[in-house]
């Protein structure tokens, strides 16, 4: 704190922690050297960040509202990815058609199916796993960990132990070139979808009565009930939404990766955990920040120092924790 006292005011002036992804992008430019590579990497990083945001936002939101840390969250990512892959395989005629309409239809069907699964499975999960251990963090951590194991084994039992190839819609498969930088259409699509979800979530939380209820419920659940609202229904709704977002993110991720395996869930758990820690638990702004930083840094480092790429997220997390032990933008609780 003492050292940074002089930098702090100007840092806050340029946007505080919100400026970090931009600063990272600017710093990366001279390091990467070539503008076209930088554009490609940046677009990839932003797209990856947005997909991770989709997956992580639910984890963070559910924590903020219910004080529940759901290690089983990534089960929804995994199921979402595999369901989307199955739908895309089933709709292979649409996926392969040279028509943007049919391509998009197939993709939306896949994302829709995954999200729908997230919604439905979210209710079941909340009722069976989360509700019985409400208020007991230790048992929560344990039971959701158990749920993650079970769901991951279920994925393997249903889709097998071998990797599955995901068919990507033809129209989104292409690349367009701007000034020597090649940009994958799918990445632009992923970025836009994630951004739209973020804006929607932000508006709901800050501009609607439901959002007001949610924010009040975060502070004092009992009082919200004494004012006449059934808060557990609200919370179930939020849990379902979070699960659906995770499944949606998983579906997008499946298309992005092209190949998925049964261990997708636990792999992504680590990633979204790091994102949520960096961003600060409980706030969607924090999740977005964390996700963008992880996405961008991951891509830059993979290009600059391939050997370091795996450790880069961990190093980023350590650095953030040293600077702000509660993350960049944690939810404010009274």
């Amino acid at each position: 704190m003492r050292l940074s006292d002089k930098i702090a005011p100007s840092f806050e002036r340029i946007g505080g922690v919100y400026a970090l992804p931009v600063i990272l992008m600017i710093v990366a430019l001279p390091l990467v050297g070539s503008l076209s590579s930088w554009v490609t990497l940046t677009v990839a990083g932003l797209a990856m960040g947005m997909m991770i945001f989709l997956m992580a936002s639910g984890l963070s939101l559910v924590f903020g509202l219910m004080n529940v840390l759901n290690f089983g969250h990534s089960a929804f990512i995994s199921f979402g990815a595999f369901i989307a892959a199955s739908v895309l395989t089933g709709l292979s005629a649409w996926v392969g058609a040279h028509s943007l309409g049919f391509n998009l239809l197939a993709l939306f069907a896949a994302i829709g199916a995954a999200s729908l699964f997230g919604l439905v499975a979210g209710i079941v999960f909340e009722y069976l796993i989360i509700r019985p251990v409400a208020g007991d963090h230790l048992r929560q951590i344990l039971i959701t960990m158990g749920a993650l194991i079970v769901s991951e084994e279920l994925v393997r039992a249903i889709w097998g132990d071998n990797p599955i190839t995901v068919a990507r819609p033809a129209a989104l498969n292409g690349i367009f070139v701007i000034g020597g930088a090649s940009i994958e259409i799918y990445r632009v699509f992923a970025f836009c979808l994630g951004l739209a979800v973020f804006v929607g979530l932000y508006l709901v939380l800050n501009r609607t009565r439901i959002g007001l209820l949610i924010r009040a419920g975060v502070e004092n659940r009992e009082m919200v009930e004494a004012l006449g609202f059934r808060i557990e229904r609200l919370f179930v709704g939020v849990f379902m939404l979070g699960s659906a977002l995770a499944a949606m993110g998983g579906a997008m991720w499946a298309g992005y990766q092209g190949t998925i395996t049964g261990s997708l869930g636990s792999e992504m758990l680590i990633l979204i955990t790091i994102v949520v820690i960096i961003g600060g638990l409980g706030s969607i702004e924090g999740s977005l920040l964390g996700a963008l930083l992880v996405g961008l840094l991951g891509n830059y480092v993979a290009f600059l120092f391939p050997k370091l790429s795996l450790a880069s997220n961990m190093l980023l997390m350590m650095a953030v924790l040293l600077w702000r032990p509660w993350g960049l933008k944690p939810a404010v609780k009274s």
Binding site: L138, R139, M145, I149, W326
Partner: protein, 371 residues
């Protein structure tokens, strides 16, 4: 009033101070297990059973040290296998790159254990000052990165294949501790006094010493401080205990115990790889053992380890039989495939957390206290 209402339903450690009928039964079972482990090479003649006994010894240390964290201090860590692995890899590298002698075993082991301690201090100071949930997440991330490192730094760790090495001569099967007239290893109750026996007792004694130390810690004034921190962190700080320092200390103690268990395991197996030490499956096993045995009961760790180890071999056989029997049914054989063993483990785990949060030892100790 409202805050403590929930806590009042939990078992009280203070109330468990007097022996109950269940407690007596529990300690008899533990005594039997202890005796069986002590005489394992003489009771079970086959190699496989000795292997199980050694594994139980190592995992008792792992589970007990983990219970020190989760049960006594209320710290949830997912990095326990990381420390286990660091001890194992330390010993393995010493023996592999240095040579199969005591000096290099000691060098590697001390190196591994020290590295684990240093890393535990770092993680502890960095993140133990914040919330329990947060710490769980940080250790989860750290543990997984360590696993990635182990599989990537092939030149040091052998990557996915791991390291194979020899142990000091004393532990080699050909070693004769006492020779008889024919120049062969002498037999005691029909068991040859060879390197195998020495190796088993090396494992047993080291594990026993570490376990006894851990058990003494929880009964010492330090143990009460740890429980106080679990119960009411702010008040513990207010009466003069540096909570972060105590938490970090107990995290380091647990890490060192796990690393020592790793050293022993590496020597016993003569092989160290990600699957035998670092894997997340082992982390889950440890968690399950502690939860089955009962959190906050050092002796519960023993019960948990034994139950798990027996169930693991028994249930797998049962599953393959069941999978064969249901081969006509659609998805069922897939669920009953022995490879799907974690599925049932996970289910068992969930049910335990839901219905028996006190575990076997905790539940037993309460039995008979009312009557």
């Amino acid at each position: 009033m409202t805050d403590t209402a929930a806590e009042r339903d939990l078992p009280s450690t203070a109330a468990c101070a007097r022996p109950t009928a269940g407690g007596v039964a529990l300690f008899s079972v533990i005594a039997v297990i202890g005796l069986l482990l002590l005489f394992a090479p003489f009771v079970f003649s086959d190699v496989r059973s000795t292997q199980v006994a050694a594994r139980i010894c190592v995992f008792v240390v792992l589970a007990a040290s983990y219970d020190l964290l989760i049960g006594y201090t209320g710290i949830v860590s997912f990095a326990h296998t990381m420390f286990f692995g660091m001890g194992a890899y330390g010993a393995a590298m010493g023996l592999k790159f240095g040579g199969a002698d005591w000096g290099h075993l000691l060098l590697g082991s001390v190196g591994g254990v020290l590295a684990a301690a240093v890393l535990a201090v770092l993680i502890g100071l960095l993140s133990l000052r914040v919330k329990a949930l947060f710490f769980a997440m940080v250790t989860l991330a750290a543990g997984s990165v360590m696993m990635v490192l182990a599989s990537q730094l092939t030149s040091l760790t052998g990557g996915e294949d791991g390291l194979v090495y020899s142990t000091p001569r004393l532990f080699k099967p050909a070693m004769k501790l006492v020779t008889n007239a024919d120049g062969e290893a002498a037999r005691l109750f029909g068991v040859p006094l060879d390197g195998r026996l020495a190796l088993y007792y090396f494992v047993f004694i080291v594990c026993l010493v570490v376990f006894v130390l851990l058990a003494r810690i929880v009964r010492s004034p330090l143990g009460t401080v740890l429980e106080a921190i679990r119960e009411n962190e702010l008040r513990a700080e207010a009466i003069g205990y540096r909570v972060v320092a105590y938490r970090t200390a107990v995290f380091v103690i647990a890490a060192v115990a796990a690393a020592v268990a790793g050293v022993v395991w590496a020597v016993w197996l003569r092989y160290t790889g990600p699957d035998t030490t670092l894997s997340f499956d082992i982390m889950i096993d440890i968690l399950l053992m502690v939860v089955i045995g009962g959190m906050g009961t050092m002796y519960g760790a023993i019960i948990g380890v034994v139950v798990m180890s027996l169930a693991q071999s028994y249930l797998k056989d049962l599953m393959s039989a069941a999978a064969g029997a249901t081969s006509g049914v659609p998805i069922l054989p897939h669920l009953l495939d022995p490879d799907r063993w974690p599925l049932w483990l996970g289910l068992l785990f969930i049910l335990l957390v839901l219905f028996f949060p006190a575990g076997i030892a905790g539940t037993l100790m309460k039995k008979g206290s009312r009557s």
